[in-house]
Protein backbone atom coordinates (compact mmCIF):
# COMPACT_ATOMS: atom_id res chain seq x y z
CA UNK A 1 0.00 0.00 0.00
CA UNK A 2 1.32 3.47 -0.89
CA UNK A 3 2.12 5.47 2.21
CA UNK A 4 -0.17 8.39 3.03
CA UNK A 5 2.65 10.21 4.78
CA UNK A 6 6.25 9.24 4.23
CA UNK A 7 8.91 10.83 6.41
CA UNK A 8 12.26 10.59 4.72
CA UNK A 9 15.01 11.71 7.09
CA UNK A 10 12.96 14.79 7.97
CA UNK A 11 14.87 17.25 10.14
CA UNK A 12 13.68 20.65 11.33
CA UNK A 13 15.82 23.18 13.17
CA UNK A 14 14.83 26.42 14.85
CA UNK A 15 18.11 28.27 15.05
CA UNK A 16 20.57 25.91 16.71
CA UNK A 17 17.86 23.73 18.22
CA UNK A 18 17.00 20.52 16.39
CA UNK A 19 13.27 19.97 16.83
CA UNK A 20 12.70 16.99 14.54
CA UNK A 21 15.65 14.64 14.18
CA UNK A 22 15.92 12.69 10.95
CA UNK A 23 12.43 11.22 11.17
CA UNK A 24 11.85 8.13 9.06
CA UNK A 25 8.47 6.43 8.82
CA UNK A 26 5.90 5.37 6.27
CA UNK A 27 2.35 5.86 7.54
CA UNK A 28 -0.12 3.82 5.56
CA UNK A 29 -3.13 3.64 7.89
CA UNK A 30 -6.48 5.25 7.19
CA UNK A 31 -6.23 7.06 10.50
CA UNK A 32 -2.91 7.68 12.18
CA UNK A 33 -2.49 8.86 15.74
CA UNK A 34 0.36 11.16 16.61
CA UNK A 35 1.34 10.89 20.26
CA UNK A 36 4.06 12.30 22.44
CA UNK A 37 4.67 14.40 25.52
CA UNK A 38 4.79 18.20 25.36
CA UNK A 39 7.70 19.38 23.27
CA UNK A 40 8.07 16.06 21.46
CA UNK A 41 7.59 17.76 18.09
CA UNK A 42 4.01 16.76 17.20
CA UNK A 43 2.81 20.25 16.25
CA UNK A 44 6.13 21.01 14.54
CA UNK A 45 5.70 17.89 12.43
CA UNK A 46 2.18 18.92 11.42
CA UNK A 47 3.31 22.49 10.71
CA UNK A 48 6.20 21.20 8.63
CA UNK A 49 3.93 18.95 6.61
CA UNK A 50 1.72 22.00 6.00
CA UNK A 51 4.72 23.99 4.80
CA UNK A 52 4.84 26.43 7.74
CA UNK A 53 8.40 25.36 8.61
CA UNK A 54 11.09 24.50 6.12
CA UNK A 55 12.91 21.20 6.69
CA UNK A 56 16.62 21.71 7.30
CA UNK A 57 17.32 18.22 5.93
CA UNK A 58 15.39 15.35 4.45
CA UNK A 59 11.84 15.66 3.26
CA UNK A 60 8.37 14.20 3.55
CA UNK A 61 5.86 13.05 0.99
CA UNK A 62 2.11 13.30 1.35
CA UNK A 63 0.11 11.03 -0.95
CA UNK A 64 3.22 10.83 -3.09
CA UNK A 65 3.83 14.62 -3.33
CA UNK A 66 7.03 16.05 -1.92
CA UNK A 67 6.39 18.82 0.61
CA UNK A 68 9.49 20.69 -0.55
CA UNK A 69 8.70 20.79 -4.23
CA UNK A 70 4.90 20.50 -4.29
CA UNK A 71 3.95 22.45 -1.18
CA UNK A 72 0.98 24.17 -2.79
CA UNK A 73 -0.39 20.96 -4.25
CA UNK A 74 0.08 19.22 -0.91
CA UNK A 75 -1.88 21.93 0.91
CA UNK A 76 -4.68 21.49 -1.60
CA UNK A 77 -5.07 17.91 -0.39
CA UNK A 78 -5.13 18.71 3.30
CA UNK A 79 -7.76 19.88 5.73
CA UNK A 80 -6.33 21.33 8.92
CA UNK A 81 -7.96 21.74 12.32
CA UNK A 82 -5.45 23.58 14.51
CA UNK A 83 -5.04 23.09 18.23
CA UNK A 84 -5.63 26.69 19.30
CA UNK A 85 -8.58 28.96 18.64
CA UNK A 86 -8.44 29.97 15.00
CA UNK A 87 -11.27 31.99 13.47
CA UNK A 88 -12.27 35.47 12.33
CA UNK A 89 -14.24 36.88 15.23
CA UNK A 90 -16.53 39.29 13.39
CA UNK A 91 -17.53 36.84 10.69
CA UNK A 92 -20.55 34.55 10.84
CA UNK A 93 -19.79 30.86 11.02
CA UNK A 94 -21.08 30.00 7.58
CA UNK A 95 -19.28 32.94 5.94
CA UNK A 96 -16.05 31.94 7.62
CA UNK A 97 -16.26 28.36 6.37
CA UNK A 98 -17.28 29.60 2.93
CA UNK A 99 -14.26 31.90 2.80
CA UNK A 100 -11.95 29.05 3.76
CA UNK A 101 -13.52 26.73 1.18
CA UNK A 102 -13.12 29.39 -1.52
CA UNK A 103 -9.48 29.86 -0.61
CA UNK A 104 -9.07 26.09 -1.00
CA UNK A 105 -10.30 26.47 -4.57
CA UNK A 106 -14.05 25.86 -4.49
CA UNK A 107 -16.19 28.14 -6.66
CA UNK A 108 -18.27 30.59 -4.59
CA UNK A 109 -21.57 28.76 -5.08
CA UNK A 110 -20.19 25.36 -4.21
CA UNK A 111 -18.30 26.82 -1.25
CA UNK A 112 -21.51 28.27 0.19
CA UNK A 113 -23.37 25.00 -0.26
CA UNK A 114 -20.55 22.99 1.32
CA UNK A 115 -20.25 25.47 4.19
CA UNK A 116 -23.91 24.97 5.06
CA UNK A 117 -23.54 21.20 4.82
CA UNK A 118 -20.41 21.17 6.94
CA UNK A 119 -22.12 23.26 9.61
CA UNK A 120 -25.11 20.94 9.76
CA UNK A 121 -22.78 17.96 9.78
CA UNK A 122 -20.85 19.13 12.83
CA UNK A 123 -24.09 19.99 14.61
CA UNK A 124 -23.95 23.78 14.34
CA UNK A 125 -26.69 24.20 11.76
CA UNK A 126 -28.82 26.35 14.03
CA UNK A 127 -26.07 28.82 14.89
CA UNK A 128 -24.40 29.16 11.51
CA UNK A 129 -25.42 32.80 11.13
CA UNK A 130 -24.01 33.84 14.50
CA UNK A 131 -20.61 35.55 14.58
CA UNK A 132 -17.81 33.21 15.59
CA UNK A 133 -16.75 35.47 18.46
CA UNK A 134 -19.97 34.55 20.28
CA UNK A 135 -19.44 30.77 20.04
CA UNK A 136 -18.66 28.63 23.07
CA UNK A 137 -15.40 26.65 23.13
CA UNK A 138 -17.12 23.47 21.98
CA UNK A 139 -18.82 25.33 19.12
CA UNK A 140 -15.50 26.84 18.05
CA UNK A 141 -13.95 23.38 17.95
CA UNK A 142 -16.81 22.14 15.80
CA UNK A 143 -16.52 25.19 13.52
CA UNK A 144 -12.82 24.46 13.12
CA UNK A 145 -13.70 20.92 12.08
CA UNK A 146 -16.29 22.29 9.63
CA UNK A 147 -13.75 24.53 7.91
CA UNK A 148 -11.29 21.63 7.76
CA UNK A 149 -13.69 19.31 5.92
CA UNK A 150 -15.74 21.77 3.85
CA UNK A 151 -13.49 21.60 0.81
CA UNK A 152 -13.37 17.79 0.83
CA UNK A 153 -9.70 17.15 1.61
CA UNK A 154 -7.94 13.85 1.02
CA UNK A 155 -6.06 14.05 4.32
CA UNK A 156 -7.30 15.63 7.52
CA UNK A 157 -4.92 16.94 10.19
CA UNK A 158 -6.61 17.15 13.57
CA UNK A 159 -4.47 18.77 16.22
CA UNK A 160 -5.93 18.09 19.68
CA UNK A 161 -9.55 18.08 18.44
CA UNK A 162 -11.02 17.40 21.88
CA UNK A 163 -9.08 20.13 23.65
CA UNK A 164 -11.20 21.85 26.27
CA UNK A 165 -14.39 19.97 25.46
CA UNK A 166 -16.76 18.75 28.14
CA UNK A 167 -17.46 14.97 28.16
CA UNK A 168 -20.62 15.03 25.96
CA UNK A 169 -18.96 17.37 23.46
CA UNK A 170 -15.86 15.18 23.46
CA UNK A 171 -17.95 12.07 22.76
CA UNK A 172 -19.71 13.90 19.91
CA UNK A 173 -16.38 15.04 18.43
CA UNK A 174 -14.96 11.50 18.61
CA UNK A 175 -18.11 10.16 16.95
CA UNK A 176 -17.74 12.70 14.15
CA UNK A 177 -14.11 11.75 13.61
CA UNK A 178 -15.02 8.04 13.61
CA UNK A 179 -17.81 8.70 11.10
CA UNK A 180 -15.46 10.58 8.81
CA UNK A 181 -12.89 7.81 9.15
CA UNK A 182 -15.39 5.04 8.49
CA UNK A 183 -16.70 6.64 5.29
CA UNK A 184 -13.26 5.89 3.89
CA UNK A 185 -13.07 9.00 1.71
CA UNK A 186 -10.11 10.54 3.46
CA UNK A 187 -7.16 9.78 5.69
CA UNK A 188 -6.73 11.17 9.19
CA UNK A 189 -3.74 12.30 11.19
CA UNK A 190 -4.84 12.90 14.75
CA UNK A 191 -2.48 14.51 17.22
CA UNK A 192 -3.53 14.21 20.83
CA UNK A 193 -2.36 13.89 24.38
CA UNK A 194 -5.34 11.73 25.18
CA UNK A 195 -4.55 8.07 24.56
CA UNK A 196 -8.23 7.15 24.57
CA UNK A 197 -8.97 9.56 21.73
CA UNK A 198 -6.22 8.03 19.65
CA UNK A 199 -7.23 4.50 20.58
CA UNK A 200 -10.86 5.21 19.64
CA UNK A 201 -10.10 6.80 16.30
CA UNK A 202 -6.83 5.46 14.93
CA UNK A 203 -5.52 2.24 13.47
CA UNK A 204 -1.85 3.28 13.42
CA UNK A 205 0.13 5.28 15.92
CA UNK A 206 3.35 7.24 15.70
CA UNK A 207 4.89 8.21 19.03
CA UNK A 208 7.40 11.03 19.13
CA UNK A 209 9.83 11.79 21.91
CA UNK A 210 12.41 14.58 21.84
CA UNK A 211 12.02 14.92 18.10
CA UNK A 212 12.61 11.22 17.41
CA UNK A 213 10.25 8.44 16.44
CA UNK A 214 9.97 6.55 19.73
CA UNK A 215 7.44 3.99 18.52
CA UNK A 216 5.42 3.26 15.44
CA UNK A 217 2.87 0.47 15.40
CA UNK A 218 -0.36 -0.79 14.01
CA UNK A 219 -2.93 -0.77 16.80
CA UNK A 220 -5.10 -3.43 15.21
CA UNK A 221 -2.17 -5.84 15.07
CA UNK A 222 -1.27 -4.98 18.65
CA UNK A 223 -4.81 -5.69 19.75
CA UNK A 224 -4.77 -9.02 17.97
CA UNK A 225 -1.46 -9.90 19.61
CA UNK A 226 -2.82 -8.97 23.02
CA UNK A 227 -5.81 -11.25 22.81
CA UNK A 228 -3.76 -13.99 24.49
CA UNK A 229 -2.55 -11.60 27.19
CA UNK A 230 -4.35 -11.93 30.53
CA UNK A 231 -4.14 -10.27 33.91
CA UNK A 232 -5.54 -12.24 36.81
CA UNK A 233 -5.84 -11.66 40.54
CA UNK A 234 -5.70 -14.69 42.78
CA UNK A 235 -6.35 -15.51 46.43
CA UNK A 236 -5.07 -18.62 48.22
CA UNK A 237 -1.99 -20.10 49.82
CA UNK A 238 -0.88 -22.20 46.86
CA UNK A 239 -0.15 -19.40 44.44
CA UNK A 240 3.35 -20.75 43.83
CA UNK A 241 2.00 -24.17 42.87
CA UNK A 242 -0.65 -22.56 40.69
CA UNK A 243 2.08 -20.61 38.83
CA UNK A 244 4.15 -23.75 38.31
CA UNK A 245 1.14 -25.66 36.97
CA UNK A 246 0.23 -22.86 34.60
CA UNK A 247 3.79 -22.61 33.31
CA UNK A 248 3.74 -26.35 32.64
CA UNK A 249 0.85 -25.66 30.22
CA UNK A 250 3.17 -23.40 28.23
CA UNK A 251 2.08 -20.01 29.66
CA UNK A 252 4.55 -17.20 30.18
CA UNK A 253 3.94 -15.69 33.60
CA UNK A 254 4.94 -12.54 35.46
CA UNK A 255 3.81 -12.50 39.12
CA UNK A 256 3.05 -9.15 40.72
CA UNK A 257 2.06 -7.96 44.19
CA UNK A 258 -1.06 -9.13 46.04
CA UNK A 259 -1.67 -12.22 43.91
CA UNK A 260 -1.68 -10.40 40.59
CA UNK A 261 -0.27 -12.38 37.70
CA UNK A 262 0.25 -11.45 34.05
CA UNK A 263 -0.05 -14.36 31.65
CA UNK A 264 0.47 -14.97 27.97
CA UNK A 265 -1.52 -18.01 26.90
CA UNK A 266 -0.10 -20.31 24.24
CA UNK A 267 -2.25 -20.92 21.17
CA UNK A 268 -4.96 -23.48 21.75
CA UNK A 269 -5.14 -23.11 25.51
CA UNK A 270 -8.60 -22.14 26.74
CA UNK A 271 -9.09 -19.80 29.70
CA UNK A 272 -11.32 -22.47 31.23
CA UNK A 273 -8.19 -24.57 31.92
CA UNK A 274 -6.87 -21.85 34.23
CA UNK A 275 -9.99 -22.08 36.39
CA UNK A 276 -9.66 -25.87 36.50
CA UNK A 277 -6.03 -25.66 37.64
CA UNK A 278 -6.92 -22.96 40.18
CA UNK A 279 -9.69 -25.16 41.59
CA UNK A 280 -7.28 -28.09 41.79
CA UNK A 281 -4.74 -25.96 43.72
CA UNK A 282 -7.44 -24.44 45.97
CA UNK A 283 -6.73 -21.00 44.56
CA UNK A 284 -9.48 -18.48 43.82
CA UNK A 285 -9.37 -16.39 40.67
CA UNK A 286 -11.00 -13.18 41.81
CA UNK A 287 -10.49 -11.16 38.62
CA UNK A 288 -9.49 -11.99 35.05
CA UNK A 289 -9.01 -9.34 32.37
CA UNK A 290 -7.93 -9.49 28.79
CA UNK A 291 -5.38 -6.71 28.51
CA UNK A 292 -7.01 -3.70 26.78
CA UNK A 293 -4.75 -0.78 27.52
CA UNK A 294 -2.25 -1.73 24.84
CA UNK A 295 -1.68 1.84 23.65
CA UNK A 296 -0.90 3.03 27.15
CA UNK A 297 1.71 0.29 27.51
CA UNK A 298 3.20 1.07 24.11
CA UNK A 299 3.31 4.74 25.01
CA UNK A 300 4.90 4.18 28.42
CA UNK A 301 7.43 1.77 26.95
CA UNK A 302 8.31 4.34 24.29
CA UNK A 303 8.77 7.01 26.95
CA UNK A 304 11.12 4.76 28.91
CA UNK A 305 13.63 4.42 26.09
CA UNK A 306 16.69 6.55 26.69
CA UNK A 307 16.70 8.95 23.75
CA UNK A 308 13.38 8.12 22.23
CA UNK A 309 14.99 6.63 19.14
CA UNK A 310 13.63 3.33 17.92
Amino acid sequence: MDPVIELDGLEVRFGQRVILKQLKAALTGRSVGLLGPNGAGKSTLINTLLGFHKPSAGTARILGRDIRTHAREVRGLIGYMPENDAFIANMTGVHFVRLMAELAGLPAGHALERAHEAFFYVGLGEVRYRTLGTYSLGMKQAAKLAQAIAHGPKLLFLDEPTNGLDPPARVRMIQLIQEIRDRGDLHLLLSSHLLHDVEDCCDEVLILKDGNVAAFCNLEEERRANRRFLEIETRGENNGCFLEAVEKLGCETAPGAQGRIKLILPDGLEVRRLYEIAAGQNVQIRRLNHRRDSLEDIFLKAMETANGRL
Partner: protein, 301 residues
Protein backbone atom coordinates in the same frame (compact mmCIF):
# COMPACT_ATOMS: atom_id res chain seq x y z
CA UNK B 1 -27.72 17.35 -1.52
CA UNK B 2 -30.06 18.87 1.03
CA UNK B 3 -28.31 20.32 4.03
CA UNK B 4 -30.47 18.40 6.47
CA UNK B 5 -28.87 15.14 5.32
CA UNK B 6 -26.15 15.30 7.88
CA UNK B 7 -23.36 13.34 6.35
CA UNK B 8 -19.88 13.98 5.14
CA UNK B 9 -19.22 13.68 1.43
CA UNK B 10 -16.02 14.32 -0.47
CA UNK B 11 -15.83 17.14 -3.02
CA UNK B 12 -15.16 16.12 -6.58
CA UNK B 13 -16.33 19.23 -8.40
CA UNK B 14 -14.33 21.78 -10.34
CA UNK B 15 -11.71 24.01 -8.70
CA UNK B 16 -11.03 27.65 -9.45
CA UNK B 17 -7.71 28.64 -11.10
CA UNK B 18 -5.15 29.36 -8.42
CA UNK B 19 -4.61 32.99 -9.49
CA UNK B 20 -8.29 33.82 -8.85
CA UNK B 21 -8.00 32.87 -5.16
CA UNK B 22 -6.12 36.12 -4.67
CA UNK B 23 -9.38 37.91 -5.41
CA UNK B 24 -11.33 36.12 -2.69
CA UNK B 25 -9.89 38.24 0.12
CA UNK B 26 -10.70 41.64 -1.43
CA UNK B 27 -14.20 40.42 -2.35
CA UNK B 28 -14.95 39.62 1.29
CA UNK B 29 -13.25 42.82 2.44
CA UNK B 30 -15.34 44.98 0.10
CA UNK B 31 -18.50 43.25 1.28
CA UNK B 32 -17.52 44.14 4.85
CA UNK B 33 -16.62 47.69 3.80
CA UNK B 34 -20.06 48.20 2.26
CA UNK B 35 -21.63 47.29 5.56
CA UNK B 36 -19.85 50.06 7.42
CA UNK B 37 -21.88 53.24 7.03
CA UNK B 38 -19.29 55.72 8.29
CA UNK B 39 -16.59 54.45 5.96
CA UNK B 40 -18.95 54.36 2.99
CA UNK B 41 -20.03 57.97 3.63
CA UNK B 42 -16.42 59.05 4.10
CA UNK B 43 -15.43 57.35 0.85
CA UNK B 44 -18.25 58.98 -1.10
CA UNK B 45 -17.53 62.37 0.52
CA UNK B 46 -13.93 62.11 -0.62
CA UNK B 47 -15.10 62.72 -4.18
CA UNK B 48 -16.38 66.23 -3.38
CA UNK B 49 -13.02 67.88 -4.04
CA UNK B 50 -12.48 66.17 -7.44
CA UNK B 51 -16.04 67.15 -8.37
CA UNK B 52 -15.29 70.76 -7.51
CA UNK B 53 -12.12 70.56 -9.61
CA UNK B 54 -14.08 69.11 -12.52
CA UNK B 55 -16.62 71.90 -12.12
CA UNK B 56 -13.86 74.54 -12.16
CA UNK B 57 -12.40 73.02 -15.34
CA UNK B 58 -15.83 73.01 -16.94
CA UNK B 59 -16.66 76.57 -15.93
CA UNK B 60 -13.23 77.78 -17.13
CA UNK B 61 -14.11 76.58 -20.61
CA UNK B 62 -17.74 77.60 -20.73
CA UNK B 63 -18.26 81.24 -21.70
CA UNK B 64 -21.97 81.30 -20.86
CA UNK B 65 -21.31 79.84 -17.42
CA UNK B 66 -18.63 82.47 -16.81
CA UNK B 67 -21.09 85.13 -17.94
CA UNK B 68 -23.66 83.83 -15.48
CA UNK B 69 -21.06 84.12 -12.75
CA UNK B 70 -20.31 87.68 -13.86
CA UNK B 71 -16.72 86.88 -14.71
CA UNK B 72 -15.18 88.52 -17.78
CA UNK B 73 -13.64 86.25 -20.38
CA UNK B 74 -10.21 87.75 -19.64
CA UNK B 75 -10.39 86.74 -16.05
CA UNK B 76 -10.80 83.03 -16.80
CA UNK B 77 -7.37 82.31 -15.48
CA UNK B 78 -8.25 83.33 -11.92
CA UNK B 79 -7.87 79.66 -11.07
CA UNK B 80 -5.25 78.39 -13.47
CA UNK B 81 -5.44 74.76 -14.53
CA UNK B 82 -1.77 74.04 -14.16
CA UNK B 83 0.70 71.98 -12.14
CA UNK B 84 -0.41 73.58 -8.84
CA UNK B 85 -4.03 72.74 -9.60
CA UNK B 86 -3.29 69.06 -10.23
CA UNK B 87 -0.80 68.76 -7.41
CA UNK B 88 -3.33 70.27 -5.00
CA UNK B 89 -5.94 67.82 -6.20
CA UNK B 90 -3.52 64.94 -5.64
CA UNK B 91 -2.44 66.40 -2.27
CA UNK B 92 -5.98 66.69 -0.89
CA UNK B 93 -7.00 63.31 -2.12
CA UNK B 94 -3.83 61.73 -0.78
CA UNK B 95 -4.51 63.29 2.60
CA UNK B 96 -7.97 61.73 2.60
CA UNK B 97 -6.38 58.44 1.51
CA UNK B 98 -4.23 58.59 4.66
CA UNK B 99 -7.39 58.84 6.77
CA UNK B 100 -9.02 55.98 4.87
CA UNK B 101 -5.92 53.81 5.26
CA UNK B 102 -5.93 54.58 8.99
CA UNK B 103 -9.57 53.54 9.28
CA UNK B 104 -9.46 50.43 7.10
CA UNK B 105 -5.82 49.29 7.22
CA UNK B 106 -5.68 48.15 10.86
CA UNK B 107 -8.73 45.95 10.31
CA UNK B 108 -7.03 43.99 7.57
CA UNK B 109 -4.44 41.80 9.29
CA UNK B 110 -4.84 42.33 13.03
CA UNK B 111 -8.13 40.37 13.41
CA UNK B 112 -6.56 37.40 11.63
CA UNK B 113 -3.51 37.55 13.88
CA UNK B 114 -5.49 38.16 17.06
CA UNK B 115 -7.57 35.03 16.45
CA UNK B 116 -4.83 32.85 14.91
CA UNK B 117 -6.67 32.69 11.61
CA UNK B 118 -3.45 32.96 9.60
CA UNK B 119 -2.75 29.25 10.03
CA UNK B 120 -6.08 28.53 8.39
CA UNK B 121 -5.41 30.81 5.42
CA UNK B 122 -1.93 29.44 4.89
CA UNK B 123 -2.90 25.79 5.37
CA UNK B 124 -4.63 26.12 2.02
CA UNK B 125 -3.06 26.40 -1.43
CA UNK B 126 -2.54 30.07 -0.71
CA UNK B 127 0.83 31.68 -0.04
CA UNK B 128 1.95 34.44 2.31
CA UNK B 129 2.62 36.70 -0.65
CA UNK B 130 -0.89 36.12 -1.97
CA UNK B 131 -2.31 36.86 1.46
CA UNK B 132 -0.46 40.19 1.67
CA UNK B 133 -1.31 41.09 -1.93
CA UNK B 134 -4.96 40.22 -1.32
CA UNK B 135 -5.11 42.41 1.77
CA UNK B 136 -3.16 45.19 0.04
CA UNK B 137 -5.42 45.15 -2.98
CA UNK B 138 -8.35 46.30 -0.85
CA UNK B 139 -6.47 49.45 0.15
CA UNK B 140 -4.92 49.92 -3.29
CA UNK B 141 -8.27 49.82 -5.09
CA UNK B 142 -10.00 52.19 -2.68
CA UNK B 143 -7.10 54.65 -2.58
CA UNK B 144 -6.68 54.51 -6.34
CA UNK B 145 -10.31 55.48 -6.73
CA UNK B 146 -9.65 58.42 -4.41
CA UNK B 147 -6.39 59.67 -5.91
CA UNK B 148 -5.13 59.00 -9.40
CA UNK B 149 -8.44 57.97 -10.96
CA UNK B 150 -10.16 61.34 -10.34
CA UNK B 151 -6.87 63.11 -11.08
CA UNK B 152 -6.60 61.50 -14.49
CA UNK B 153 -10.30 62.06 -15.17
CA UNK B 154 -9.82 65.78 -14.48
CA UNK B 155 -6.75 65.73 -16.73
CA UNK B 156 -8.78 64.12 -19.52
CA UNK B 157 -11.63 66.61 -19.04
CA UNK B 158 -9.21 69.51 -19.24
CA UNK B 159 -7.56 67.98 -22.33
CA UNK B 160 -10.94 67.44 -23.94
CA UNK B 161 -12.04 71.03 -23.33
CA UNK B 162 -8.66 72.68 -23.96
CA UNK B 163 -7.67 70.60 -26.95
CA UNK B 164 -5.20 67.89 -27.87
CA UNK B 165 -2.31 70.33 -27.95
CA UNK B 166 -2.72 71.01 -24.21
CA UNK B 167 -2.46 67.30 -23.47
CA UNK B 168 0.62 66.99 -25.62
CA UNK B 169 2.20 69.97 -23.82
CA UNK B 170 1.43 68.67 -20.31
CA UNK B 171 2.04 64.90 -20.18
CA UNK B 172 3.92 65.34 -16.91
CA UNK B 173 0.69 66.32 -15.16
CA UNK B 174 -0.85 62.95 -15.99
CA UNK B 175 2.34 61.01 -15.29
CA UNK B 176 2.94 62.91 -12.04
CA UNK B 177 -0.62 62.28 -10.87
CA UNK B 178 -0.47 58.59 -11.74
CA UNK B 179 2.99 57.70 -10.46
CA UNK B 180 2.88 60.17 -7.54
CA UNK B 181 -0.38 58.62 -6.34
CA UNK B 182 0.95 55.10 -6.73
CA UNK B 183 4.03 55.86 -4.64
CA UNK B 184 1.84 57.24 -1.88
CA UNK B 185 -0.63 54.36 -2.14
CA UNK B 186 2.11 51.74 -1.90
CA UNK B 187 3.66 53.41 1.13
CA UNK B 188 0.31 53.79 2.87
CA UNK B 189 -0.80 50.26 2.09
CA UNK B 190 2.44 48.67 3.22
CA UNK B 191 2.60 50.79 6.35
CA UNK B 192 -1.03 50.10 7.23
CA UNK B 193 -0.58 46.35 6.85
CA UNK B 194 2.73 46.28 8.70
CA UNK B 195 1.33 48.24 11.65
CA UNK B 196 -1.81 46.13 11.56
CA UNK B 197 0.36 43.00 11.76
CA UNK B 198 2.34 44.27 14.76
CA UNK B 199 -0.35 46.07 16.73
CA UNK B 200 -3.26 43.73 17.22
CA UNK B 201 -5.54 46.37 18.76
CA UNK B 202 -7.19 48.15 15.84
CA UNK B 203 -7.59 51.67 17.31
CA UNK B 204 -3.95 51.64 18.40
CA UNK B 205 -2.81 50.59 14.94
CA UNK B 206 -4.89 53.37 13.37
CA UNK B 207 -3.46 55.92 15.78
CA UNK B 208 0.02 54.70 15.07
CA UNK B 209 -0.49 55.40 11.36
CA UNK B 210 -0.91 59.08 12.15
CA UNK B 211 1.92 58.86 14.65
CA UNK B 212 4.32 57.61 12.00
CA UNK B 213 3.53 60.60 9.81
CA UNK B 214 3.08 63.44 12.27
CA UNK B 215 5.34 62.45 15.15
CA UNK B 216 8.15 61.52 12.77
CA UNK B 217 7.69 64.86 10.99
CA UNK B 218 7.94 66.68 14.34
CA UNK B 219 11.04 64.66 15.21
CA UNK B 220 12.60 65.61 11.87
CA UNK B 221 11.77 69.28 12.48
CA UNK B 222 13.48 69.14 15.89
CA UNK B 223 16.60 67.64 14.29
CA UNK B 224 16.57 70.42 11.68
CA UNK B 225 16.30 73.10 14.36
CA UNK B 226 18.88 71.69 16.73
CA UNK B 227 21.43 70.68 14.12
CA UNK B 228 20.68 73.58 11.74
CA UNK B 229 20.37 71.17 8.87
CA UNK B 230 17.75 69.96 6.39
CA UNK B 231 18.50 66.25 6.80
CA UNK B 232 15.77 65.91 9.40
CA UNK B 233 13.30 66.11 6.51
CA UNK B 234 14.17 62.49 5.80
CA UNK B 235 11.99 61.61 8.83
CA UNK B 236 9.15 63.68 7.41
CA UNK B 237 7.34 61.36 5.03
CA UNK B 238 5.17 64.23 3.78
CA UNK B 239 8.27 66.21 2.82
CA UNK B 240 9.95 63.24 1.14
CA UNK B 241 6.84 62.35 -0.86
CA UNK B 242 6.32 66.04 -1.70
CA UNK B 243 9.86 66.28 -3.08
CA UNK B 244 9.29 63.20 -5.23
CA UNK B 245 6.01 64.61 -6.49
CA UNK B 246 7.60 67.92 -7.44
CA UNK B 247 10.21 66.03 -9.42
CA UNK B 248 7.56 63.89 -11.12
CA UNK B 249 5.35 66.87 -11.96
CA UNK B 250 8.02 69.41 -12.93
CA UNK B 251 11.31 67.63 -13.45
CA UNK B 252 14.26 69.90 -12.81
CA UNK B 253 12.37 73.15 -13.62
CA UNK B 254 10.91 73.49 -10.20
CA UNK B 255 8.31 76.21 -9.54
CA UNK B 256 6.17 74.83 -6.69
CA UNK B 257 6.60 73.77 -3.07
CA UNK B 258 4.47 70.65 -3.22
CA UNK B 259 0.89 70.70 -2.00
CA UNK B 260 -1.20 70.43 1.18
CA UNK B 261 0.52 68.04 3.66
CA UNK B 262 3.19 67.19 1.10
CA UNK B 263 5.20 70.39 1.28
CA UNK B 264 8.82 70.52 0.13
CA UNK B 265 9.81 74.18 0.34
CA UNK B 266 12.41 75.40 -2.12
CA UNK B 267 15.79 75.95 -0.52
CA UNK B 268 15.36 73.00 1.81
CA UNK B 269 15.94 70.41 -0.86
CA UNK B 270 17.76 67.17 -0.20
CA UNK B 271 19.44 65.23 -3.00
CA UNK B 272 16.71 63.45 -4.90
CA UNK B 273 18.32 60.02 -4.51
CA UNK B 274 18.13 60.48 -0.73
CA UNK B 275 14.36 60.94 -0.96
CA UNK B 276 13.95 57.87 -3.14
CA UNK B 277 16.25 55.93 -0.83
CA UNK B 278 14.24 56.99 2.25
CA UNK B 279 11.02 55.77 0.64
CA UNK B 280 12.65 52.50 -0.44
CA UNK B 281 13.96 51.91 3.09
CA UNK B 282 10.52 52.61 4.56
CA UNK B 283 8.97 50.08 2.17
CA UNK B 284 11.64 47.50 2.97
CA UNK B 285 11.09 47.94 6.71
CA UNK B 286 7.36 47.41 6.20
CA UNK B 287 7.99 44.29 4.10
CA UNK B 288 10.36 42.95 6.75
CA UNK B 289 7.75 43.57 9.45
CA UNK B 290 5.15 41.73 7.37
CA UNK B 291 7.52 38.85 6.63
CA UNK B 292 8.15 38.44 10.36
CA UNK B 293 4.49 38.38 11.30
CA UNK B 294 2.66 36.76 8.38
CA UNK B 295 3.43 33.14 9.16
CA UNK B 296 1.37 30.02 9.49
CA UNK B 297 2.99 29.21 12.81
CA UNK B 298 4.98 31.34 15.21
CA UNK B 299 8.50 30.03 15.78
CA UNK B 300 9.79 30.22 19.35
CA UNK B 301 13.57 29.88 19.15
Amino acid sequence: MAVYKKTYRPYDGELTPSWTRLLVIPRYAFAEFRGKRFLSIFFIASFIYPLICALIIYVQHNASALGLLGVQQGARNLIAINVTFFMSLLGWQSMLALFLASFIGPGQVSPDLANNALSLYLARPFSRVEYVLGKMSVLVVLMSLMTWVPGLLCFCLQGYLEGWQWMKDNPRLAAGTFFGAWIWILILALLALALSAWVKWKPAAGGLMFGVFFVAAAFGAVINQVQRTAWGHLFNIGHVVGSVWVQLFEGSNRTTNGAVFFRAPMGEDLPMWCNWMALAILCLICLYMLARKIRGAEVVR
